[in-house]
Amino acid sequence: MSTTVRAASAPAKATTRRRPRRHWSRYAYIAPAVVFVAATTLYPLYYNISLSLYDAPIQKFLAGTIEFVGLANYAEELRNPQLWTGLRVSLIYTIATIALMYVIGLALAVFFNRKFVGRNAVRAAIFLPYILPSVVAANVWRWILDGSYGLVNHALMSVGIIDAPVFWLGQGNSAMVAVVLATAWTMAPFAMLLLLAGLQNIPKGLYEAASLDGAGPVTRFRRITLPLLRPVSLVVALLGFIYTFRTFDTIFIMTKGGPGDATTVLPILAYNEAFVNFELGSGATINTLMLVIPTVLALFYFRATRKEDAL
């Protein structure tokens, strides 16, 4: 017994002596990441929330005379119909984009889950929209959909589907469809990548067994592929939502939020308030309110992935 105690106490002392060094080296390793996150995420977040508590038009802001108004900006914005319209537009845009992105991404994933000559080359080409700068992609879509010289009108008129040019970005509904299409096109390769990884994790034996039982391709897809892809699909949907909900550049370039407020999503509304109207307090307020939904979803995502890791 005493031997056991001595044997255990000796290394314990050694550990005690070494602990401080290990302790500091541990923090030194993560310090760059902590500083980076603090400087680029936490502090701006804190500052944005702080600014939302002030009446801060640009003149007062630069003069250093902005006034603390507590939650008055929030009360005002929550009464502002533009905010609710922006929220509705944001949700329609985000949900429609995710649905389309998922369908395209899944179709591509299923396609690339089989072996064929040149698979890697085609897959790399399909991935192009995702790595293309969004400014470039959005401008390309704007030109394609232009009413006067756009490719879409030219094609549709050539085959007689329409007899006069349609100004896709000049009408509310078609403008929304256009920005959804452009964003989903950009995001689909990302969905494909995750879904393909999910597909490759499904044991081939399941498909073989189902085939032996007489299940056709559609049944195998419905009964094996879709259910077993559910966790990955959830990740795709959550990350897709968080990414899409904050999209600014694609819409700003294609429609600037128009026509009217048809594509004025919350980030565009916040931008206009801050950089067109120069009402920084109001812009910060919209920005803060805009964070609520993605934050809730992000927490849900982390909980879900933690559970998955625990399994």
């Binding site: 002030y54 006067s148 006069a164 000049g170 128009g258």
Partner: protein, 421 residues
């Protein structure tokens, strides 16, 4: 309550915060600096070098840089120009104001001058301008944009006005004359329209730029920018709706910027366009396009629209004397007359406009419009972007048929009232 006193938000912190993800933070980024509206910049530099920020991109970059290089050659003062795209210019300027990094000279949009003066970003030049004694040479419209709260904060650099461009061949083929009133515009535009060839095009794109044509029509109807949902507002909107119903304007106007509009006119698919002098060179070089330019049509009144840039000295300049020297050098008629034609811009001084190069009939039309070119006054100017955006929204709602003109104008009025409150 001062920002520094509350939540311990120093401007330095604001600057750091501004670099953050939310985009908004970028401007939020504030720092020291404000509160010195009306103060003269101190002369602490030796004046041997100057920084000059502008937003002249594309074909406009080379002429301004050549002009500044010429000054360096003549004076020995090194001038470093920095081009910031128009869309980012004000934001960059405001952000730099917070960190005390403004250039010596900022070439700013005329309508933004009051905002920057009110924000304390640019210095009061009243004494310098008075001592200089040349302000009476300037056209009243551009000069008026340089004043705020009784003081002069800028010197006009160049101007531009809007006129009606007419395709002579198209009108002649339809037996029509260039219109002089808005009633005639509607009749001529309807008469020459056929299928995808439209009588009139203008820029109605989302944002500030898309409001100009409607404002021109509204002012001609006797409108006041503070009173959008007036009879004049309805008259202007009804006029545009009649043009649309007659097939005389394309719904594409809501998606076209001024370059797109020019392309339509150049291609011959538009018989008339409302546009500025900026496109004189490109259209003059466009081969066999037979066009002429006539003054903006009248209704109750006759108005054009001023587009201009002003030269300002910022609060952070340590070389204010040297900056003033450059500004006054740039304003000399012979210097401007060498520079302006290449820029497709108009002189802002009457002595500059007397030169032979401005005798051209087309240029004379644009210059004549300087006398009737509307610009927002100093109360409206700082919030003009908000009001103009509201106007474009009303135009979009009315032309797309998603709301009545009365409702659309009421919404625009609410926006204007809130901005001016």
């Amino acid at each position: 309550m001062n920002i520094v006193d509350h939540l311990n938000l120093t401007r330095r912190r604001l600057l750091i915060g501004g670099l953050g993800a939310a985009g908004l933070g970028a401007i939020a980024a504030c720092t020291p600096g404000g509160g010195n509206a009306g103060e003269e910049a101190e002369q602490t530099g030796d004046g041997s070098s100057l920084t000059f920020w502008h937003y002249y991109g594309g074909g406009a970059t080379a002429p301004i840089e050549a002009l500044l290089a010429k000054y360096t050659q003549e004076s020995g003062v090194a001038v470093t120009p920095r081009l910031i795209p128009f869309g980012d210019f004000n934001r960059t300027l405001l952000q730099s104001a917070t960190s005390g990094d403004l250039p010596d000279i900022a070439l700013v949009n005329a309508f933004d001058t009051a905002l920057f003066a009110d924000s304390g970003m640019i210095v009061d030049l009243s004494d310098r301008v008075e001592e200089w004694g040349e302000s009476d040479q300037y056209f009243s419209g551009p000069m008026a944009t340089t004043t705020f709260d009784g003081a002069t904060y800028a010197v006009p650099h160049v101007a531009d006005t809007y006129s009606l461009w007419v395709n002579n061949a198209t009108l002649a083929a339809a037996g029509q004359q260039a219109p002089t009133t808005w009633t005639e515009v509607e009749a001529v535009a309807a008469a020459v329209s056929e299928g995808q060839n439209f009588g009139l095009v203008f820029c109605g794109i989302e944002g500030v730029e898309g409001s100009t044509a409607w404002i021109l029509r509204f002012l001609a109807a006797g409108g006041d920018i503070r009173d959008l949902d007036s009879d004049a507002g309805l008259a202007a909107m009804d006029s545009f709706l009649r043009l649309k119903d007659a097939g005389a304007i394309s719904e594409g106007v809501l998606t076209w910027n001024e370059d797109d509009v020019t392309l339509q006119f150049q291609n011959g698919t538009a018989a008339m366009m409302i546009n500025s002098a900026s496109y004189l060179s490109s259209l003059a070089e466009a081969g066999d396009l037979d066009f002429s330019v006539v003054p903006m049509p009248s209704d109750t009144d006759q108005f054009s629209f001023l587009s201009a840039e002003n030269l300002t000295i910022t609060k952070d300049s340590a070389n204010a004397d040297a900056a003033w020297e450059l500004i006054t050098w740039m304003q000399q008629p012979d210097v401007m007359n060498e520079y302006l034609p290449e820029r497709n811009k108009l002189p802002v001084r009457s002595d500059t406009a007397e030169a032979e190069i401005w005798a051209d009939e087309t240029r004379q039309v644009f210059i004549s419009q300087l006398d009737v070119a509307w610009a927002p006054d100093e109360e409206v100017a700082p919030v003009s972007a908000e009001i103009f955006t509201g106007i474009q929204n009303a135009l979009q709602v009315s032309l797309s048929g998603s709301g009545t003109p009365a409702d659309a104008l009421a919404a625009a009025q609410a926006t204007a009232d809130e901005a001016l409150a």
